[in-house]
């Protein structure tokens, strides 16, 4: 899994420009599923046919980035953010465009670091002037952090662990999954970082009985941390709530019971801010009972995001168990009480 994660992490794929990462993931899954297709928003669907409950499992494949808004006469590029990008984190970074062009993030003369905003920063792609720059990039091109993933024991450090770690978990689960009654729609969604957009249209298209998102979550196990229960290396996290979704109690219970039964270490996650694809899925059509398996991740939205391979392995086990479990929808989620 670490090689897969490294490959996914290093692949380019900011929100709205997911072609490359989509191709890589399609290559990884197509031998293990019955159908693979895409839709107008660029979501990638992998279907394992079944006769019973239709389960959608979503992992977003987009990453945050920066978008070129202006090229000045000296060839410097001004930019805006795509998703939650911090100017402080960008300082001193190397970024890359989809076509291989690499640039440094530079900063205007600044008296007070507290006054650092995105419009004080620029991308320097080494062009001598506007004409040269325009041969390499154009307005609207999106760059991501340029970073190789490093493996330190069970920990992997790199960019876009949010949410290539989730993608890797879903890919691995698809590979391990035996025949089940359930019909499984794994969706590698687009544009999550700009507002859960891919999951909104893909869940409408699928109209699933149950929804499950796999995404990273914040941790509270570092020096002077925020008050969060989740820690790196302590297992897969079962989401209780975040700002986008309150997970269905029955799905939460199913995940907890499966973890106990298969002796998979898990931790409960209550996230006060932030959202994930389940936020869109559970409000689709007449409502879809939804839950989330989260992978603990330190330094989210930086180029040095850190995840633990054991947490990922446990997430795969939990996901595989969930997808293999027969769910009688009428009994488990009765809609009519009489």
């Amino acid at each position: 899994m670490k090689d897969l994660l490294k490959k996914l992490s290093e692949t380019y794929g900011p929100s709205g420009r997911e072609e490359k990462i989509r191709q890589v993931i399609a290559g990884e899954i197509k031998d293990f599923v019955d159908e693979v297709f895409t839709d107008p928003l660029g979501n990638l669907y992998a279907v394992k046919k079944g006769k019973s409950t239709k389960i959608m499992v979503a992992a977003h494949m987009d990453e945050i980035g920066i978008i070129v808004t202006y090229i000045d006469k000296d060839g410097f590029l001004r930019f805006s953010n795509v998703g939650g990008v911090s100017p402080q984190i960008l300082l001193g970074q190397r970024v890359t465009f989809g076509n291989g062009v690499v640039g440094s993030i530079g900063v205007e003369k600044l008296d007070d670091i507290k006054k650092l905003t995105l419009d004080k920063l620029y991308i320097d792609i080494g062009a001598k002037n506007k004409e040269e720059a325009e041969k390499l990039v154009k307005i609207g091109d999106i760059a991501t952090y340029d970073r190789e993933a490093a493996v330190m024991g069970t920990r992997v450090i790199g960019k876009a662990m949010d949410n290539r770690a989730g993608c890797a978990v879903v890919i691995e689960a698809l590979r391990r999954l035996r025949e089940t009654e359930n019909e499984i729609y794994a969706v590698f969604t687009t544009q999550e970082e700009v507002g859960l957009r891919g999951s909104r249209t893909s869940s409408y298209r699928i109209n699933p009985d149950l929804g499950l998102a796999v995404d990273v979550t914040l941790v509270g196990d570092t020096p002077e941390p925020p008050a969060l229960n989740v820690a790196l290396g302590k297992g897969a996290a079962i989401k209780v709530k975040d700002a986008s979704v309150i997970c269905h109690p029955k799905i939460k219970a199913m995940l907890s019971e499966l973890a106990a039964k298969h002796k998979i270490p898990v931790q409960m996650e209550v996230l006060t801010a932030g959202g994930t694809d389940a936020g869109a899925i559970h409000l689709t059509r007449e409502g879809v009972p939804s839950g989330v398996i989260s992978i603990p991740c330190r330094y989210v939205h930086t180029p040095v995001e850190m995840v633990d391979l054991d947490d990922m392995e446990n997430s795969v086990k939990l996901l595989t168990a969930f997808l293999s479990t027969s769910v009688k929808m009428q009994e488990a989620f009765p809609c009519a009480l009489v």
């Binding site: 929100s15 709205g16 420009r17 072609e19 399609a26 197509k30 599923v33 019955d34 159908e35 693979v36 297709f37 895409t38 839709d39 107008p40 928003l41 660029g42 979501n43 978008i67 808004t69 202006y70 000045d72 001004r78 805006s80 953010n81 795509v82 419009d119 307005i139 609207g140 544009q191 700009v194 507002g195 957009r197 891919g198 909104r200 249209t201 893909s202 409408y204 298209r205």
Partner: protein, 349 residues
Amino acid sequence: MLLIKKLTEAYGVSGDESGVRNLLREELTPYAEKIETDSLGNLYIKKGIGKKPRVMVAAHMDEIGLMVVGIESNGLLQVKTVGGVDERVLVSKPVVVGENHVPGVIGAKAIHLQKPHERKKPLEVEQLYIDIGVKNKEEAEKMVKIGDYAAFLATTHEIGDNCLIGKAMDNRVGCAILAELVKEDYDLELTAVFTVQEEIGLRGASVAAYNVHPDFALVLEGTTASDVAGVEDTGYVTKLGGGPAISIMDSSFIAPQKVINFLVETAKKLNLPFQLRRLTTAGTDAGAISQAHGGIPSAVISVPCRYLHSPTSIISLDDYENTLRLAKGVLMAIAEGGLSLEGFAEKIK
């Protein structure tokens, strides 16, 4: 010129678009195969029914404005904003209130009565009121009621070098272009949708896109031209006179690269000036349309507009004409198969 003058001078604050809708309906009845409205008030004009592909072109009819929320004993009207109103532009502007278009003015304490510190801060809407020239509450209640909308009152006229000044350019300029588009024939099924309630959250477009479920959607808008004093050229969103603005990303929508390329190529083939919209905030109907059903490939073309959301917005008529030409060119090119719509959803296995 005449149609855009009529459209911009009509009143249609979000939720109260009937004035604009009636005008468009009358104008376009001779060209339509079918005309419909829905429960939110969107207006649909259909042509080429049954042809493929099915293209929706949308422009929102609503404008920002005010709503009466209280009447004081002295007959002054308390108001709240509807949509993104810049409170700094409100003072001393003439308005019309309610369905009878009762004239009034947005009043505030005159400068003689203001304390020095009051003069330094823009007035908030709570400190403003509409004065319709009555003596007391009873008299006011004969003319207006709580819940009435108030819209800017402004006439539209040409100024300077082929420019037009007036209110509600956002987005009657899009409506005018869409109306002109409807007057021509294309080898595709065209649903022109004049949407409601865009300014308060893309509401009309959400249900319209669900209703129409097109293969492709084009949104026509008025967008910020920020080539004005106090803005460095690094921060220009668009330039007045720079041609139609093609959207890449805003806070509601990211255009697919394929769609951007298609629009750029179409503009180049037609030798039209164009610009890429260089702001990544604000939203348009495309945000809602692109996410209807299982996702709809969408695009946005805008007419640059200075002083957006004010009663004195300025557009260039050259930009207007070139945006109309580009939109027409886009529909022609789609009819000729220039944009492969199948490619938006690929079967891999």
